[in-house]
């Protein structure tokens, strides 16, 4: 932490015009002339020298006209919603909503009427963009079960046909380990034959198999930590272990965009929770300073401990945590750091060891290394890694270890095999080349989208690529038009995002070939023109079409 932060801020500001307020440091750059005055407050924020690599992250501001039109869109939808509710009330329109049983009509209603207004009148119109059933491996391409609706999405019918070979830009299959052939599937198959799929007991009772322990040893060595523990569900890894780490009299500082599982875990812990602005280090530092100086509310006793909860890659923003600064702050203020690498493990770093490796940091500086096996490893479950005393405590006090059935053995084998592959322990370079491929694909895909004039959120190196749609009608339209052209994408709107920031999200995979990405990009561009999605007002000069292979990971490192 130095006072001379200002002179190196070129390294850490965003590349182009950036949404102010989203990101403390960037705002700082915009008001550069004020910098000298604010140096004291912001000194932790812009520590260029903490970064070993350029940190290029952008959130282009929503164009004013688009914002106005988006609000208008919601306004019209709401008015129509009320109108249709009125018609349903008077039985002019046929009502598809499931009804309470006659016997229970005089019970207190299970749902408040307004609770489901949004679901009934907005979500239902575009419900076909979600929960699309698939019937193959969720790999680079997948097969979708075709469905149709005769009652405006209230119910679906399966036509019996299958939409074949849809390019998959939706699954979190970062390293392409969602496979039904190859080493992982073979190992999982052998485990199925030998062990069956269930375990039927908890870790502490009689469900602790030596394979679980081996997985944990391997995970620990992969992460570069003393010890690790694995859990059967990624969501529950957060929600069932945070309560073991913090309790009454503790303070949890949580990023505003943290995943629901972190929020639930924090809530279940009974600690005081305060929220800082997304990836905003000034906001975090201010909370830390005030918390320590003022102590607990009312009693003013000092906090027992402070736990900072952050994620490696934010799955809706595509942003990467400013980990070097978070670690500097955590050290300065003696707080503990809980890092959720659900999306970053395997997907970032030269050898896939996540955001810690990406920034060239020491895993020992992160107190709790949490992550999931669902994404990069193509399996299920989660882990926590850290010092031996932490893991020993969790082994004896984690809710999961005591009350939840242990991990299925085929799943364990899938993880062990894929992790060994990533680490190169299988004697091949498959893992390494996949990591490199993912990094290349990511950079290429993001660059091309920007050149086409879309507004793309997040970090240049993040394989999660949110593309802004803004208007509610375009959520459904984009999802449908893409599927028509055989490309499966994820679209998200409120409440997963702020109301006007509806977006499509692409997840890049190492399994995608250049041809697939090019085809997807062409289609995105075509649909983008059709739906007028090229909102960006930045001038991005198309780079002189360098050969694909030159956009390598190494080049980025410099």
């Amino acid at each position: 932490m130095t006072e001379s932060a200002g002179n190196k801020n070129e390294d850490c500001h965003a590349a182009n015009g950036v949404k102010p307020g989203r990101n403390g440091m960037v705002k700082n750059h915009h008001h550069h002339h004020q910098y000298q005055k604010q140096e004291k407050v912001y000194n932790a924020a812009c520590n260029g020298e903490l970064y070993s690599r350029p940190f290029i992250e952008s959130f282009e501001e929503t164009p004013m006209l688009v914002a106005v039109l988006t609000y208008m869109g919601y306004g019209i939808l709401t008015i129509f919603g009320y109108l249709r509710d009125f018609m349903r009330e008077w039985k002019i329109e046929k009502c598809h909503i499931a009804r309470e049983r006659e016997e229970q009509k005089d019970f207190v209603p299970l749902y408040q009427d307004f609770e489901n207004f949004y679901t009934r009148n907005l979500y239902m119109r575009i419900r076909d963009s979600w929960n699309r059933p698939i019937c193959s491996v969720p790999g680079a391409t997948f097969d979708l079960v075709e469905r149709s609706s005769n009652d405006y999405n209230w119910t679906f019918e399966y036509t019996g046909r299958v939409v074949k070979d849809v390019i998959n830009l939706g699954s979190y299959n970062y390293l392409g380990f969602a496979e039904n052939t190859g080493a992982c599937a073979t190992a999982a198959g052998e485990a199925t034959v030998k062990f069956g799929v269930g375990v039927a007991s908890t870790r502490q009772e009689i469900g602790n198999l030596n394979r679980h322990e081996e997985l944990e040893k391997l995970t620990a060595s992969f992460l570069g930590v003393e010890s690790a523990m694995a859990f059967g569900m990624g969501f529950a890894t957060n929600s069932m272990n945070i309560p073991a780490l913090a309790g009454k009299g503790c303070l949890i500082l949580s990023d505003e965009l943290n995943h629901a599982s972190l929020v639930l875990g924090a809530r279940l812990s009974g600690s005081t929770i305060r929220v800082f602005k997304h990836n905003n280090m000034q906001s975090l530092e201010k909370l830390l300073r005030d918390a320590i100086a003022h102590g607990q509310p009312r009693t003013h006793r000092p906090w027992k401990k402070i736990l900072i909860l952050v994620e490696g890659i934010y799955s809706m923003e595509g942003s990467i945590i400013r980990l070097p600064e978070v670690i500097a702050l955590k050290k300065k203020y003696k707080a503990y750091l809980y890092l959720d690498e659900a999306h970053s493990i395997g997907a970032l770093g030269r050898s896939g060891r996540g955001v810690v490796e990406y920034f060239g940091l020491d895993p020992k500086d992160v107190d709790v290394m949490m992550g999931t096996f669902t994404k990069s490893f193509g399996a299920a479950g989660g882990y926590i890694g850290g010092r031996k005393d932490l893991i020993d405590y969790l082994r004896s006090h984690s809710h999961s270890a005591i009350y939840a059935i242990s991990m299925s053995l085929p799943v364990v084998e899938q993880i062990i095999t894929s992790m060994k592959c990533i680490m190169g322990m299988d004697g091949t370079t498959i893992g390494r080349s996949r990591i490199q491929r993912l990094a290349e694909n990511t950079v290429y895909f993001r660059r091309r989208l920007r050149e086409m004039g879309f507004i793309i959120y997040g970090n240049n190196d993040s394989p999660v690529v949110p593309m802004m749609l803004y208007m509610p009608a375009k959520i459904g339209a984009f999802g449908r038009e893409m599927l028509k052209r055989n490309i499966g994408v994820v679209v998200v709107g409120f409440p997963a995002t702020p109301i006007i920031e509806s977006r499509a999200r692409f997840c890049i995979s190492a399994a995608h070939t250049k041809e697939m990405l090019d085809r997807a990009l062409d289609v995105i561009s075509e649909v983008g023109d059709l739906l007028q999605l090229k909102y960006s007002r930045r001038k991005v000069l198309p780079s002189l079409d360098r050969p694909f292979d030159e956009t390598t990971y190494e080049e980025n490192e410099e």
């Binding site: 299970l110 079960v145 939706g170 799929v197 569900m233 639930l264 100086a293 003022h294 000092p302 939840a404």
Partner: protein
Amino acid sequence: MASGQQWVLVEMVQAFYEAPAYHLILEGILILWIIRLLFSKTYKLQERSDLTEKEKEELIEEWQPEPLVPSVSKDHPSLNYDVVTGPPSHKIIVNGKECINFASFNFLGLLDNERVKLKALSSLKKYGVGTCGPRGFYGTFDVHLELEERLAKFMRTEEAIIYSYGFATIASAIPAYSKRGDIIFVDEAACFSIQKGLQASRSFIKYFKHNDMEDLERLLKEQEIEDQKNPRKARVIRRFIVVEGLYINTADICPLPELVKLKYKYKVRIFLEESMSFGVLGEHGRGVTEHFGVNIDDIDLISANMENAVASIGGFCCGRSFVIDHQRLSGQGYCFSASLPPMLATAAIEALNIMEEDPGIFRVLRDKCKHVHKALQGTPGLKVVGEPFAPALHLQLENSTGSRTNDLKLLRAIVDYSLDRQIALTLARYLEKEERFLPPPSIRVVVTVEQTQEEIEKAAQCIREAALKILK
């Protein structure tokens, strides 16, 4: 009209000139006072601590946090797990010794069923292992839909919804319906995942004594009186009774018919957790509703895991679409978690096939349960806790030593003695500080259909010997 107004104005100005100075000064002061009152805060929102930066720095320097976790002693009873090598099926290798399994919840022996394994394997060959996404984002597989349909059909309900983790099922379902301000009546013996669901819901929780319907009715009546005081509020407070079918902590059954009567009398909804009774009780294994012959539509929500009798992974909720469908957008563990690996769903479907094809399996299990229950009676120093038809019984000390740690040591000694003699048992584990009502220490004895007459006799004999030796 205009001239009249003008005249008033002139008069006012005139009056102003004529007024004495002290009057004007007084009025001026009064006006200033009003302005001050309007713009000043009359109370302090919070005691402002005007710490200087230096003072802050000192406080920050001074503050010493507690360690992230307290240290755990090396011989903490729950730190060193028993290690199982090989499949955790009927014959299980614990710490290197092959034993007969009386500890895994594999009631129907489906864990190493060849049919289930083959189906799982073929599913693996089609879909791979992971789903790489939540249900909403391409994590819904055709087998998930099939499993949901099959579960609904099996339970004879309108709809079912699956979760990828048994523990998360009821823990997510409760807060999907019950919110801040609502009231949940819950049995004291409710399992830990129910307790977590209650906590996540932030509702008002009222515990009634275990299986004590009078106590529950007393609470319901109290609430009725409360409602009469404020009928407007009462019209929006949702209320629920949360009970387990067979309690995992006490191995006894909830009095469901009485609960249903109370439900209609006091207009409370019932959520029923059936992890221990699904695939166990009833002629077709549908659980407590079938056991008592209660109409399943009278239960608002039934949840169970697929990790015990079904011997796969995950859990499900079933009931009427009006209730269940809500979880597809509001069940946190459903929306925000990766979906169940398809091969595990396929395994569950095959397990349901087996259960549907041969309902005799439930009678076999019931007979075995009765047999074990009977065989364990009269063990010196130990009492059998649980119904004769419960597949997971508890053996508790007749006379506690007065200290939980010592009790646990004694029971652990019995478990170790049995392990040495090829009977795998386990202690029932709890988080002692977190449980709302901590059950007494016990050994868990699990019955499965695969245990033979001789094995049951042998186990009972072994426990008897151990008790004689250790508890004397």
